[in-house]
């Protein structure tokens, strides 16, 4: 269990960064448009 907190922090920061980049690229609008206009 020793490395788990570090692995979690690295994973969480990477995940949040990818999500933030997706939001920055305004992908939310495309997701909504794709899902609503099937």
């Amino acid at each position: 269990m020793k490395g788990r907190p570090i692995a979690f922090i690295v994973t969480a920061v990477a995940a949040a960064s990818i999500l933030a980049f997706g939001i920055f690229r305004e992908e939310i609008g495309e997701v909504m448009f794709n899902a609503a206009m099937l």
Binding site: F8, T11, A14, A15, I18, I28, V31, A35
Partner: protein, 278 residues
Amino acid sequence: MGAVLPNSYVQGFLSASLYQGSLKSVCSPLLNCYACPSALFSCPIGTLQHFMVTGNVPYYGIGTLSVIGATVGRMTCGTLCPFGFLQDLLYKFRAWKVSIPVWTRYFRYAVLVGLVFLIPYITHENWFSKLCPMGTLIGGLPWVTMNVNVRSMIRALFWVKIAMLLFFVTASTMVKRPFCRAICPLGAIFSLFNKSSFLQLAWNPDTCTRCGKCQKICPVDIRPDRNWTNPDCLRCLDCTRCPSLKLTTVLHRQPFGVSGTPPVEAAGAGELSGAAAR
């Protein structure tokens, strides 16, 4: 709750239309078809495929699923997924019960890479969505029932989808969650986070008698006492009915038990150390 909450736009069934509000910008952490008339949220796998079809990297979709996976691992599969819940119900039917080999888990990674990323990128078609049994159940069948125009568009692919749905419905009566274990690409994504997620399953070697009851009640037929970060583990917490297993977080360095012995070392001493447990 996982079946009702993401599909609570009842008006969609009454007016034979799709919800087009802002909630559709949110990827639900469940295998829930966004073509379902009552769907409020986006299907995460459909979203990933849409970006691959258009030749873009789905940062928002991958980021959303990664944040959820980093927080709870595969817990949404075990506690919220409506298709998983359906498979659990079907397994309660009296039928011939069989177990599937562990290596079938690798199919779901092949499905993720092949049908969700590579083939949609190459062919510009959402191939997983075209074949998804959950999509057929809550998206395809309601639309075919409600709308004459959709019914007139039925081609051979629709019957392939129906055959796949029937196959998994039948298989679910005999095998514990066959779709989740061998096919589900969403489960494949979340399972990558089971080892490093914030929520963790903890096992106490001091009280475990190795009776194997945890495997009997496990919906994916694994032994959490042998590997509590197993990528197949759905974190449904059914096994936490046993006092030797409980939910904890990564912040607890020695979350459970006195010795904190790793499972490999404890395996030999299990019968002895667990004798006084129950």
